[in-house]
Amino acid sequence: MTDTRTPLVEMKNVSISFGGIHAVDNASVDLYPGEVVALLGHNGAGKSTLIKILSGAYKRDSGEILINGEPADINNPRDAKKYGIETIYQTLAVADNVDAAANLYLGRELRTPWGTLDDVAMEAKTREVMGRLNPNFQRFKEPVKALSGGQRQSVAIARAILFNARILIMDEPTAALGPQETAQVGELIKQLKKEGIGIFLISHDIHDVFDLADRVSVMKNGQVVGHARTEDVTKDEVLGMIILGKVPEKAIPGPGAMQTA
């Protein structure tokens, strides 16, 4: 990498296997402040698994994670949050039967001096954040289950940015959204980027993310095919990486690159 700054996140030689299947095999990725890195690959390429290791949902078998150049000990989602890593999961991972405010603060509830839940304060803050993200959102009292896909997505995103995340992981953030909401998420990503937050965007659809990302990292069969700056490569070349594992000239090949004779 030409960048001499310390990466915000560096995952080095990370591997994990489930029952003999190498879901992630010796993968390395990194992310700098204010940068958007798109993690691309087919379904089952290991993108989500790799990122779940970073967010604490899975424990890696080997390899290391550096945050700001220092080894980070991430064993569960709570640890990850301590490092300012917030994740928006593909499955949205919202608690269906509680309302938006409860979801935003789940695990980090505001409390009154008596130790009880400060629902009113949480709802007020939720109204503020949701008002910024999705001004049309009004269903604060209803369980999240009753909301539309886009509204649930707003809740998941609001939860991730509420606590001043430094590293944001978005797993298929626009999968459940219509065109207008997708554009909103795009705007949001640009805004967060300006604030110096590092963002991992995970997608199996290159069109969703190519314009937003500064760099792409491509995975195939659990291995990293290669990394490239989006300005150095074309969409077709990246597609070649995703489908064939063929690394274009200006990209940096990884362990999963197709062996060329």
Partner: protein
């Protein structure tokens, strides 16, 4: 600010198009499901009253009903949290039996040797030991479920057999009696009731609490500019709440002590026996008071504390709760420990009421407790349920049973009816929920 005005407009537009009934429920924010249960209960009450020739809706029967409900109602509050997290506890009846037996042995056989007979501290030592034991057993079940990943159905099915066996083992099947005099007050009866004056005081305090809650909630909403209930709805809720409380107090205060006991009391206190007999009201029975306090505390825990929030989040989506950083395993352990503690309270009520600890105490209670929670709207699919609903469910179950006894239906038919009612109630609930969606 623009958003807020928009909402008010939208709300107004919505309420204008609604019929008056819907508007009433929206304004008062009454849970229609709970109201339906109250309606069902009233139908049961009035039905039995007619069938029994006016025996059901008497102060005496209603007072007895409240005492009989207390033990299962206490356990049902905990069962709500268990079922909300997609677990089940089949062992509550056996835990009740075992803890009751240990408390019985403690106060009838061990503590008198240590402290002397009828020592004033006997009851509290016994009760604390019981609570600790119950919490310990529950925590053990919870730990096996959470950390060893054994399904709760199996763990508590095992518990059902283990603790029933242990109950039997402790005294080789012998019934332990009598209980300590102070301990016995927890079971109700003429002694175990707080009398008219104290009951009115409780009622007035409850009314003040209702007013304070409503005023406080309005203030909080105002502070953050949330939509408010219309004033008439606030007054209506306050009036209904207070009327219910004071009405209930009036009922328990119009059930006098039996003549024989009143006469003995008069003799003992040198009161001349009047012509028409001495009218000494029972007032609220202590076990009922315990159950109400348990209900309030459990409601507080489940709605106002972080723990309660986690319970419901966990029940709705266990994976999301885990990813949000909740220590889901510990929550499970705590839920079962709490359940065990509630079994101990129920054990105290039931042994005190019987004035004995037997090895069959609490048999089938697990099923009544689960039924109460489920009739009270706790969803077996997890994530939904209220404490008040479960307690009301317990009251409905007990009303059915007492009513059938009054009407003179044979025991086999009683069980058949209760079983069918359970199935029908859950079916109706399913229909209601499907329509509500």
């Amino acid at each position: 600010m623009a958003d807020i005005t928009n909402t008010t407009h939208a709300n107004r537009a919505r309420s204008a198009s609604e019929n008056p009934v819907k508007r009433f429920f929206r304004a008062t924010e009454i849970d229609t499901r709970l109201l339906g249960m109250v309606g069902a209960m009233l139908i049961i009450w009035i039905g039995f009253n007619i069938l029994s020739g006016g025996l059901f809706l008497t102060p005496r029967n209603l007072w007895n009903l409240s005492v009989q409900t207390a033990s299962v109602a206490v356990m049902a509050t905990g069962m709500v949290l268990v079922i909300v997290t997609r677990n089940i506890d089949l062992s509550v009846g056996s835990i009740l039996g075992f803890v009751g037996m240990i408390m019985g042995v403690l106060q009838a056989e061990l503590l008198p040797q240590l402290l002397g007979f009828n020592h004033p501290a006997t009851w509290i030592v016994t009760l604390l030991a019981g609570l600790l034991l119950g919490a310990g057993i529950g925590a053990l079940h919870g730990a096996i479920i959470a950390f060893l990943n054994v399904p709760s159905f199996i763990v508590t099915l095992g518990g059902l057999l283990v603790w029933r066996g242990a109950t039997w083992f402790v005294t080789s099947g012998r019934t332990v009696a009598p209980m300590d005099a102070t301990f016995r007050l927890m079971g109700g009866g003429t002694e175990g009731s707080i009398g008219a004056t104290a009951s009115w005081i409780v009622g007035v305090v409850a009314c003040i609490a209702i007013v304070a809650t409503i005023v406080n909630s309005r203030k909080q909403r105002q502070r953050f500019g949330f939509p408010l209930r219309p004033m008439w709805a606030e007054y209506f809720l306050t009036a209904v709440g207070c009327a219910l409380v004071l009405g209930a107090i009036a009922v328990v205060n119009s059930y006098p002590w039996p003549v024989a006991i009143a006469r003995r009391y008069a003799d003992a206190n040198g009161i001349a026996w009047p012509e028409g007999g001495l009218f000494i009201p029972h007032g609220i029975a202590i076990p009922v008071l315990i159950a109400i306090v348990v209900g309030i505390v459990m409601t507080f825990i489940s709605t106002r504390l972080r723990f309660g929030r986690y319970v419901f989040a966990l029940g709705g989506n266990p994976e999301a709760a885990e990813l949000a950083g909740i220590k889901t395993r510990w929550v499970t352990v705590k839920i079962f420990a709490l359940m065990g503690m509630l079994c101990a309270i129920a054990a105290a009520i039931s042994t005190a009421r019987l004035n004995a600890a037997t090895n069959a105490q609490g048999e089938l209670d697990e099923l009544y407790t689960i039924a109460a929670a489920v009739i009270g709207g706790t969803s077996l699919a997890g994530g939904m349920g209220t404490i008040a609903g479960a307690m009301l469910g317990a009251l409905v179950m007990q009303s059915l049973q007492s009513g059938m006894v009054l009407v003179g239906i044979d025991t086999p038919f009683q069980r058949i009816v209760v079983g069918m009612v359970l199935v029908v109630a859950v079916w109706l609930d399913t229909v209601y929920r499907a329509r509500a969606k």
